[in-house]
Symmetry: C2
């Protein structure tokens, strides 16, 4: 477990801003001196990097829910990291922690900000980046605070083999809902049905997808957990029941949009639907303060579900930091099958 003493850092920076879909030349791999931890800080070796759709937004200029990266900044991201050198009283070399280490081999972090130390004996450490981490917590918060799914209700979720969607479906099932999972391609659809326990699994690539969805929801849809947008949303909207809830945590179908699609303009139609069906449509970011109080409950409850086997997960591993850009580009196309992680070091 002890690593050789490192001598320099490798990192991937934002080289230029994408127009539409990112391309490899929007990223640049570079070497840099190893950062030195100050008082209260630790030097981390990043083992695993999480790839997530929100990273696309950080590459844009202008207002999003977080400040954009500057050109030349190291790409941000959650990591599972090992303490190499500690100047913090609570942390020791060898500890494995959940960090925001970014797209690089080594990082310096404030020890006080590393709130979760991971025990590989309890659970695979990678789950702290997926089902037992930010994506799983996103599922949990959206269902608990906004979706408020009730026994017997119908829930639909897209990207349902991904770490958020898969967790949404399984938590909703545990809470007694009828669940409709939507994904792209027959392998993912089979996984939803056979491994994740969705009541209905649909392929959004089918020509008659909207008809299939209508047939799958004879009593309408009470909760649509929105993480995709695009034609899945178009098919869901007419099926939403009175008082349906739509937690919005992502719109991955649109992150690469360079301009608005052609008309007609359906903005007033959406507002009309919100009015006549008394919908609640609410955006949320799991890192927002109002949800922090739920995190301990989530860690405990999800830990139980994982140990019991009542929530399952799947990982999709990209090997090597140098392959992170292609990993993110593919993720935005839906190429991943499960939670996408980059193995930076062993």
């Amino acid at each position: 477990m002890t690593a050789p003493t490192p001598t320099d850092n490798t990192r991937i920076v934002l080289a230029s801003r994408p127009e539409g879909t990112p391309t490899p030349d929007n990223f640049r791999l570079e070497r840099a001196p190893l950062p030195e931890p100050g008082d209260g800080q630790v030097l981390l070796r990043n083992l695993w990097l999480s790839l997530d759709p929100y990273m696309r937004g950080r590459m844009n200029e202008g207002r999003s829910y977080a400040a954009p990266l500057a050109i030349g900044d190291t790409m941000e991201g959650g990591t599972v990291s090992q303490v190499v050198q500690s100047r913090h009283p609570r942390l020791s070399a060898g500890d494995i922690v959940l960090a925001h280490g970014g797209w690089q081999s080594f990082a310096v972090a404030e020890g006080d900000e590393l709130r979760r130390t991971l025990d590989p004996q309890q659970a695979p450490v990678t789950t702290a980046l997926g089902v037992h981490g930010m994506p799983g917590f996103t599922a949990y918060v959206g269902l608990s605070e906004i979706g408020k799914v009730q026994p017997g209700e119908t829930l639909a979720v897209a990207a349902a083999s991904g770490p958020v969607g898969a967790t949404v479906g399984q938590i909703a099932r545990l809470r007694g809902a009828r669940t409709i999972g939507i994904a792209g391609g027959p392998r993912k659809v089979a996984h939803l049905r056979d491994e994740l326990g969705f009541d209905i699994a649909l392929d959004h690539r089918a020509d008659d997808f909207a008809d299939q969805l209508r047939a799958a929801a004879p009593d309408g849809i009470d909760v649509y957990y929105e993480n995709v947008g695009g034609k899945v949303l178009d098919a869901v909207l007419p099926l939403l029941n009175d008082h349906a809830r739509v937690p919005v945590c992502g719109l991955v179908a649109h992150y690469n949009d360079a301009s608005l699609p052609p008309g007609p303009d359906r903005l007033s139609q959406l507002m009309g639907l919100i009015l006549t069906r008394r919908l609640t449509v609410r955006g949320f970011i799991v890192g927002d303060k109002p949800y922090a109080h739920l995190y301990p409950d989530f860690v405990r409850e999800m830990g139980d579900w994982l140990r019991e086997g009542s929530v399952r997960y799947r990982e999709d591993i990209v090997d090597g930091l140098e392959n992170a850009p292609q990993g993110l580009i593919g993720l935005l196309r839906g190429d991943n099958f499960g939670k996408r992680l980059v193995r930076i070091a062993n």
Copy 2:
């Protein structure tokens, strides 16, 4: 106060469905025999009829938040009515009640469904159709349950000289918010500023309305109480702060739309804004069950505000049932200046 014994009823029915803006020939005035109250029922003479934007939706075929009227049905509407004949133990001839008497001279109602008997000594009975009735309660519910406006926040509302908007602005001011009222034309704008106490009053007809609104909201908008849609919404959207709330109780700018406007299609843009700013956009209908428990509080609190003079209102009277169709057509254009009522009888 005693009326001559009536011999027949006059009513206005839906003659045909409008395409776009209603025209007088969508309505028909007809005579009918006087209805007979059964056991537990009362015969009502309608004194005042409320005209409200929701009536436009009832004239359409197809799903809205209430079943549509059939061709030939009497137009629906809230009324202040006087009991002419009672077969209900609690009600007596001469009592003045809040009813859903519709566009007609006389109506039969279940006595048990007439929950508010009005005392003309306490307040003008017409307020039960406006500031102290459904429109006022709509304002109250939207602010209490969805808008949750806080002291120091900025609230914007359109149709702000109308009975909902005027009440929204005044309740928000009483709760410590900075209020921006929007209306059409200089008389209404002066009324917002001089009579209703809005901090800022703007005319949406001004060419530079969007710029004026931006200048009026240097700290952004925290609550946009939506009852209009259209270009006011377009101007508000870029100004909404993170975590802003948008209660949606009406979209009067769109009720006469026969088709969607041309593109580009801004549906995904609105969803993106809901996500990145973590907006809550929620439709509500004040008659929905979840709000019934607030009604007694509203009646009491608004009664106090009216007596103190801390909430004001304005009425806009149309004389004669036969003029109700033109009254509604004008209301949908924004011709009314205050709560529009039809005086059916004295």
